[in-house]
Amino acid sequence: MKLTDAQIERYSRQLILPNIGGKGQEKILNAKVLVIGAGGLGSPASLYLASAGVGKIGIVDSDKVEVNNLQRQIVHSTSTVGKPKVDSAKERLNAINPEIEIVPFNLRLTSANIMDIIKDYDIVVDGSDNFPTRFLVNDACVLAKKPLSHGGIFRFDGQAITILPGESACYRCLFPEPPPPGLVPSCQEAGILGVVAGIIGTIQANEVLKYILKTGDLLTGRLLVFNALDSSFRQVKVPKDPNCPVCGKNPTVTELIDYEQFCQVKPRSAAGGSDG
Protein backbone atom coordinates (compact mmCIF):
# COMPACT_ATOMS: atom_id res chain seq x y z
CA MET A 1 0.00 0.00 0.00
CA LYS A 2 1.37 3.36 -1.00
CA LEU A 3 0.05 6.67 0.26
CA THR A 4 -1.44 8.88 -2.44
CA ASP A 5 -0.47 12.53 -2.82
CA ALA A 6 -3.85 13.47 -1.35
CA GLN A 7 -3.23 11.23 1.67
CA ILE A 8 0.27 12.64 2.19
CA GLU A 9 -1.25 16.12 2.16
CA ARG A 10 -4.14 15.21 4.50
CA TYR A 11 -2.05 13.37 7.09
CA SER A 12 1.21 15.34 6.78
CA ARG A 13 1.18 16.70 10.34
CA GLN A 14 1.03 13.20 11.80
CA LEU A 15 3.28 11.61 9.15
CA ILE A 16 6.00 13.89 10.53
CA LEU A 17 5.77 12.29 13.96
CA PRO A 18 8.58 9.81 14.62
CA ASN A 19 6.15 7.16 15.94
CA ILE A 20 3.87 7.34 12.90
CA GLY A 21 5.42 8.02 9.49
CA GLY A 22 4.20 6.24 6.37
CA LYS A 23 4.16 2.79 7.98
CA GLY A 24 2.16 3.98 10.97
CA GLN A 25 -0.31 5.77 8.72
CA GLU A 26 -0.83 2.53 6.78
CA LYS A 27 -1.67 0.80 10.07
CA ILE A 28 -4.20 3.53 10.86
CA LEU A 29 -5.75 3.32 7.39
CA ASN A 30 -6.07 -0.46 7.73
CA ALA A 31 -7.53 -0.33 11.27
CA LYS A 32 -11.12 -1.21 12.14
CA VAL A 33 -12.58 0.39 15.27
CA LEU A 34 -16.04 -0.10 16.77
CA VAL A 35 -17.45 2.87 18.69
CA ILE A 36 -20.36 2.00 20.98
CA GLY A 37 -22.58 5.03 21.46
CA ALA A 38 -22.59 8.13 19.25
CA GLY A 39 -22.97 10.36 22.29
CA GLY A 40 -20.76 12.46 24.56
CA LEU A 41 -17.80 10.05 24.47
CA GLY A 42 -18.35 8.53 21.03
CA SER A 43 -18.52 11.98 19.43
CA PRO A 44 -14.99 13.20 20.17
CA ALA A 45 -13.59 9.67 19.89
CA SER A 46 -15.05 9.11 16.43
CA LEU A 47 -14.20 12.64 15.24
CA TYR A 48 -10.51 12.19 16.06
CA LEU A 49 -10.36 8.62 14.75
CA ALA A 50 -11.99 9.65 11.47
CA SER A 51 -9.69 12.66 11.17
CA ALA A 52 -6.64 10.48 11.79
CA GLY A 53 -7.72 8.19 8.95
CA VAL A 54 -8.95 5.03 10.70
CA GLY A 55 -10.09 3.05 7.66
CA LYS A 56 -13.26 1.56 9.06
CA ILE A 57 -15.30 2.89 11.97
CA GLY A 58 -18.42 1.06 13.11
CA ILE A 59 -20.85 3.11 15.22
CA VAL A 60 -23.59 1.55 17.35
CA ASP A 61 -26.51 3.59 18.67
CA SER A 62 -30.29 3.16 18.62
CA ASP A 63 -31.22 6.75 19.51
CA LYS A 64 -32.17 9.76 17.44
CA VAL A 65 -30.47 13.14 17.83
CA GLU A 66 -32.23 15.48 20.27
CA VAL A 67 -31.55 19.16 20.86
CA ASN A 68 -30.48 18.47 24.45
CA ASN A 69 -27.69 16.21 23.11
CA LEU A 70 -25.90 19.00 21.28
CA GLN A 71 -24.35 20.55 24.41
CA ARG A 72 -21.90 17.60 24.54
CA GLN A 73 -22.44 15.26 21.58
CA ILE A 74 -20.35 17.29 19.19
CA VAL A 75 -20.52 14.97 16.21
CA HIS A 76 -24.18 15.98 15.70
CA SER A 77 -25.69 19.26 14.51
CA THR A 78 -28.85 21.27 14.90
CA SER A 79 -29.64 20.31 11.31
CA THR A 80 -29.54 16.57 12.14
CA VAL A 81 -31.94 16.70 15.10
CA GLY A 82 -34.49 13.92 14.63
CA LYS A 83 -32.18 11.73 12.53
CA PRO A 84 -30.76 8.47 13.84
CA LYS A 85 -27.52 9.30 15.65
CA VAL A 86 -25.56 6.79 13.59
CA ASP A 87 -26.63 8.48 10.33
CA SER A 88 -25.96 11.95 11.71
CA ALA A 89 -22.48 10.82 12.83
CA LYS A 90 -21.73 9.14 9.49
CA GLU A 91 -22.65 12.33 7.65
CA ARG A 92 -20.33 14.47 9.76
CA LEU A 93 -17.43 12.01 9.85
CA ASN A 94 -17.47 11.46 6.08
CA ALA A 95 -17.70 15.23 5.58
CA ILE A 96 -14.38 15.49 7.45
CA ASN A 97 -12.84 12.45 5.81
CA PRO A 98 -14.58 11.05 2.73
CA GLU A 99 -12.03 8.28 2.19
CA ILE A 100 -12.90 6.21 5.26
CA GLU A 101 -15.75 3.75 5.71
CA ILE A 102 -18.34 4.47 8.41
CA VAL A 103 -20.60 1.51 9.25
CA PRO A 104 -23.79 2.53 11.09
CA PHE A 105 -25.51 0.06 13.44
CA ASN A 106 -28.88 1.59 14.29
CA LEU A 107 -29.69 -0.91 17.01
CA ARG A 108 -29.45 -1.69 20.69
CA LEU A 109 -26.68 -4.08 21.69
CA THR A 110 -27.87 -7.30 23.31
CA SER A 111 -26.35 -10.64 24.24
CA ALA A 112 -27.79 -11.95 20.97
CA ASN A 113 -26.10 -9.52 18.55
CA ILE A 114 -22.94 -8.15 20.20
CA MET A 115 -20.55 -11.01 19.37
CA ASP A 116 -21.43 -10.86 15.71
CA ILE A 117 -20.86 -7.09 15.61
CA ILE A 118 -17.53 -6.90 17.48
CA LYS A 119 -15.92 -9.78 15.61
CA ASP A 120 -15.08 -7.65 12.56
CA TYR A 121 -13.19 -4.98 14.53
CA ASP A 122 -9.67 -4.71 15.97
CA ILE A 123 -10.63 -2.74 19.08
CA VAL A 124 -13.81 -1.48 20.76
CA VAL A 125 -14.48 1.97 22.27
CA ASP A 126 -17.18 1.88 24.93
CA GLY A 127 -18.97 5.20 25.07
CA SER A 128 -22.21 3.83 26.49
CA ASP A 129 -24.12 5.63 29.22
CA ASN A 130 -25.65 2.76 31.14
CA PHE A 131 -24.51 -0.16 33.25
CA PRO A 132 -26.28 -2.96 31.33
CA THR A 133 -24.47 -2.02 28.10
CA ARG A 134 -21.17 -1.39 29.87
CA PHE A 135 -21.17 -4.84 31.49
CA LEU A 136 -22.38 -6.51 28.31
CA VAL A 137 -19.58 -4.87 26.30
CA ASN A 138 -16.94 -5.77 28.88
CA ASP A 139 -18.04 -9.39 29.07
CA ALA A 140 -18.29 -9.75 25.28
CA CYS A 141 -14.83 -8.24 24.80
CA VAL A 142 -13.30 -10.48 27.48
CA LEU A 143 -14.96 -13.61 26.03
CA ALA A 144 -13.95 -12.65 22.46
CA LYS A 145 -10.48 -11.45 23.60
CA LYS A 146 -11.12 -8.08 21.97
CA PRO A 147 -9.23 -5.00 23.25
CA LEU A 148 -11.54 -2.43 24.83
CA SER A 149 -11.28 1.22 25.81
CA HIS A 150 -13.68 2.05 28.62
CA GLY A 151 -14.74 5.60 29.36
CA GLY A 152 -17.21 6.92 31.90
CA ILE A 153 -18.43 10.40 32.78
CA PHE A 154 -20.49 11.76 35.64
CA ARG A 155 -21.13 15.44 36.39
CA PHE A 156 -17.63 16.97 36.58
CA ASP A 157 -15.77 13.65 36.73
CA GLY A 158 -14.52 11.28 34.11
CA GLN A 159 -12.59 8.03 34.02
CA ALA A 160 -10.91 5.82 31.45
CA ILE A 161 -9.14 2.48 31.37
CA THR A 162 -7.92 0.24 28.57
CA ILE A 163 -8.55 -3.49 28.76
CA LEU A 164 -6.45 -6.13 27.03
CA PRO A 165 -8.40 -9.31 27.87
CA GLY A 166 -6.27 -11.96 29.51
CA GLU A 167 -3.42 -9.49 30.06
CA SER A 168 -4.84 -6.61 32.08
CA ALA A 169 -7.71 -5.94 34.47
CA CYS A 170 -11.20 -5.77 32.98
CA TYR A 171 -14.14 -3.58 34.01
CA ARG A 172 -15.44 -6.33 36.30
CA CYS A 173 -12.07 -6.52 38.09
CA LEU A 174 -12.93 -2.95 39.11
CA PHE A 175 -16.71 -3.34 39.57
CA PRO A 176 -17.70 -7.03 39.82
CA GLU A 177 -21.47 -6.45 39.42
CA PRO A 178 -23.73 -3.63 38.22
CA PRO A 179 -25.11 -1.45 41.04
CA PRO A 180 -28.68 -2.28 42.04
CA PRO A 181 -31.34 -0.42 40.03
CA GLY A 182 -32.26 2.94 41.55
CA LEU A 183 -29.04 3.39 43.51
CA VAL A 184 -27.16 5.30 40.85
CA PRO A 185 -28.70 8.32 39.15
CA SER A 186 -28.78 8.15 35.38
CA CYS A 187 -26.83 10.63 33.31
CA GLN A 188 -29.96 12.60 32.59
CA GLU A 189 -30.56 13.02 36.31
CA ALA A 190 -26.96 13.75 37.15
CA GLY A 191 -26.07 16.25 34.48
CA ILE A 192 -22.78 16.40 32.67
CA LEU A 193 -20.40 19.11 31.57
CA GLY A 194 -19.73 18.74 27.83
CA VAL A 195 -15.97 19.23 28.11
CA VAL A 196 -15.67 16.28 30.50
CA ALA A 197 -17.08 14.05 27.76
CA GLY A 198 -14.72 15.71 25.30
CA ILE A 199 -11.64 15.07 27.44
CA ILE A 200 -12.45 11.43 28.22
CA GLY A 201 -13.61 10.58 24.68
CA THR A 202 -10.43 12.12 23.33
CA ILE A 203 -8.34 10.04 25.72
CA GLN A 204 -10.16 6.97 24.39
CA ALA A 205 -9.28 7.95 20.80
CA ASN A 206 -5.67 8.35 21.89
CA GLU A 207 -5.68 4.87 23.44
CA VAL A 208 -7.03 3.41 20.20
CA LEU A 209 -4.37 5.14 18.11
CA LYS A 210 -1.59 3.93 20.42
CA TYR A 211 -2.98 0.40 20.23
CA ILE A 212 -3.09 0.55 16.41
CA LEU A 213 0.43 1.99 16.22
CA LYS A 214 1.84 -0.27 18.95
CA THR A 215 3.50 2.78 20.48
CA GLY A 216 3.60 4.33 23.96
CA ASP A 217 2.03 2.84 27.07
CA LEU A 218 -1.65 1.95 27.12
CA LEU A 219 -3.88 2.81 30.09
CA THR A 220 -3.91 -0.85 31.10
CA GLY A 221 -3.93 -1.83 34.75
CA ARG A 222 -4.55 1.77 35.76
CA LEU A 223 -7.71 3.84 35.87
CA LEU A 224 -7.28 7.46 34.85
CA VAL A 225 -9.60 9.73 36.84
CA PHE A 226 -10.23 13.31 35.76
CA ASN A 227 -11.93 16.08 37.71
CA ALA A 228 -12.93 19.19 35.79
CA LEU A 229 -13.36 21.47 38.81
CA ASP A 230 -9.76 21.26 39.95
CA SER A 231 -8.40 20.21 36.53
CA SER A 232 -6.73 17.18 38.07
CA PHE A 233 -5.79 13.79 36.66
CA ARG A 234 -5.17 10.90 39.05
CA GLN A 235 -4.21 7.33 38.32
CA VAL A 236 -5.43 4.39 40.35
CA LYS A 237 -3.68 1.05 39.94
CA VAL A 238 -6.09 -1.72 38.98
CA PRO A 239 -4.57 -5.18 39.27
CA LYS A 240 -6.18 -8.12 37.52
CA ASP A 241 -8.51 -9.75 40.06
CA PRO A 242 -8.01 -13.53 40.24
CA ASN A 243 -11.59 -13.75 41.54
CA CYS A 244 -13.05 -11.59 38.75
CA PRO A 245 -16.42 -13.04 37.69
CA VAL A 246 -15.48 -12.93 34.00
CA CYS A 247 -11.68 -12.84 33.60
CA GLY A 248 -10.64 -14.55 36.87
CA LYS A 249 -9.41 -18.10 37.44
CA ASN A 250 -12.86 -19.60 37.96
CA PRO A 251 -15.24 -17.36 36.04
CA THR A 252 -18.94 -17.46 36.89
CA VAL A 253 -19.88 -15.33 33.90
CA THR A 254 -19.35 -17.69 30.99
CA GLU A 255 -22.12 -16.39 28.81
CA LEU A 256 -23.49 -12.93 28.15
CA ILE A 257 -26.09 -11.35 30.43
CA ASP A 258 -28.72 -8.75 29.52
CA TYR A 259 -29.05 -6.77 32.75
CA GLU A 260 -32.22 -4.77 33.19
CA GLN A 261 -32.20 -1.20 32.18
CA PHE A 262 -33.12 0.96 35.16
CA CYS A 263 -33.05 4.51 33.97
CA GLN A 264 -36.20 6.04 35.41
CA VAL A 265 -36.20 9.28 33.50
CA LYS A 266 -36.37 8.17 29.90
CA PRO A 267 -36.45 4.40 29.80
CA ARG A 268 -36.99 3.93 26.09
CA SER A 269 -34.50 6.45 24.81
CA ALA A 270 -31.79 5.65 27.33
CA ALA A 271 -31.87 1.98 26.46
CA GLY A 272 -30.19 2.84 23.19
CA GLY A 273 -26.93 3.33 24.81
CA SER A 274 -24.93 6.38 23.93
CA ASP A 275 -22.86 8.28 26.39
CA GLY A 276 -24.06 10.56 29.14
Partner: protein
Protein backbone atom coordinates in the same frame (compact mmCIF):
# COMPACT_ATOMS: atom_id res chain seq x y z
CA UNK B 1 31.08 7.37 -1.42
CA UNK B 2 29.54 10.82 -1.42
CA UNK B 3 30.67 11.22 -5.01
CA UNK B 4 28.87 8.07 -6.08
CA UNK B 5 25.46 8.26 -7.75
CA UNK B 6 22.75 8.52 -5.07
CA UNK B 7 20.31 5.62 -4.78
CA UNK B 8 17.31 7.93 -4.96
CA UNK B 9 16.65 11.54 -5.94
CA UNK B 10 13.82 13.78 -4.75
CA UNK B 11 13.17 17.20 -6.23
CA UNK B 12 11.39 19.30 -3.62
CA UNK B 13 11.64 22.69 -5.29
CA UNK B 14 8.64 24.89 -4.51
CA UNK B 15 7.41 22.47 -1.84
CA UNK B 16 6.87 24.29 1.43
CA UNK B 17 7.65 23.21 4.97
CA UNK B 18 6.76 20.82 6.46
CA UNK B 19 5.62 18.95 3.33
CA UNK B 20 9.15 18.82 1.95
CA UNK B 21 10.23 17.02 5.11
CA UNK B 22 7.19 14.70 4.98
CA UNK B 23 8.13 13.67 1.42
CA UNK B 24 11.76 13.17 2.45
CA UNK B 25 10.78 11.09 5.45
CA UNK B 26 8.40 8.86 3.46
CA UNK B 27 11.07 8.28 0.80
CA UNK B 28 13.67 7.38 3.44
CA UNK B 29 11.23 4.90 5.03
CA UNK B 30 11.08 2.94 1.77
CA UNK B 31 14.86 2.78 1.39
CA UNK B 32 17.40 0.35 2.84
CA UNK B 33 19.83 1.29 5.60
CA UNK B 34 23.05 2.67 4.12
CA UNK B 35 21.43 3.88 0.89
CA UNK B 36 21.71 7.53 -0.12
CA UNK B 37 19.05 10.07 -1.05
CA UNK B 38 19.70 13.32 -2.88
CA UNK B 39 17.18 16.05 -2.14
CA UNK B 40 16.80 19.38 -3.95
CA UNK B 41 15.53 22.10 -1.62
CA UNK B 42 14.74 25.80 -1.88
CA UNK B 43 16.87 28.31 -0.04
CA UNK B 44 15.53 29.87 3.16
CA UNK B 45 13.17 27.96 5.43
CA UNK B 46 13.47 24.58 3.62
CA UNK B 47 17.27 24.38 3.89
CA UNK B 48 17.12 25.52 7.51
CA UNK B 49 14.46 22.97 8.52
CA UNK B 50 14.73 19.80 6.44
CA UNK B 51 18.33 18.76 7.17
CA UNK B 52 17.79 19.41 10.89
CA UNK B 53 14.61 17.30 10.95
CA UNK B 54 16.34 14.54 8.97
CA UNK B 55 19.17 14.47 11.53
CA UNK B 56 16.64 14.35 14.37
CA UNK B 57 15.23 11.17 12.81
CA UNK B 58 18.72 9.70 13.10
CA UNK B 59 19.95 9.95 9.51
CA UNK B 60 23.23 11.45 8.31
CA UNK B 61 23.71 14.51 6.11
CA UNK B 62 26.71 13.69 3.92
CA UNK B 63 26.78 16.83 1.83
CA UNK B 64 24.97 20.13 1.32
CA UNK B 65 25.84 22.34 -1.62
CA UNK B 66 24.28 25.52 -2.91
CA UNK B 67 23.59 25.72 -6.64
CA UNK B 68 22.21 29.13 -7.64
CA UNK B 69 19.31 29.65 -5.22
CA UNK B 70 18.69 25.91 -4.65
CA UNK B 71 20.33 23.42 -2.35
CA UNK B 72 21.36 19.87 -3.11
CA UNK B 73 21.73 17.74 0.00
CA UNK B 74 22.83 14.14 0.25
CA UNK B 75 21.34 12.00 3.03
CA UNK B 76 22.51 8.60 4.18
CA UNK B 77 19.74 6.43 5.62
CA UNK B 78 20.71 5.05 9.02
Amino acid sequence: MSDAVPNEVLNLENIACPNNFVRTKLKLEEMETGQTLEVILDDGEPIRNVPRAVKEEGHEILKAEKIDNKWKILIKKI
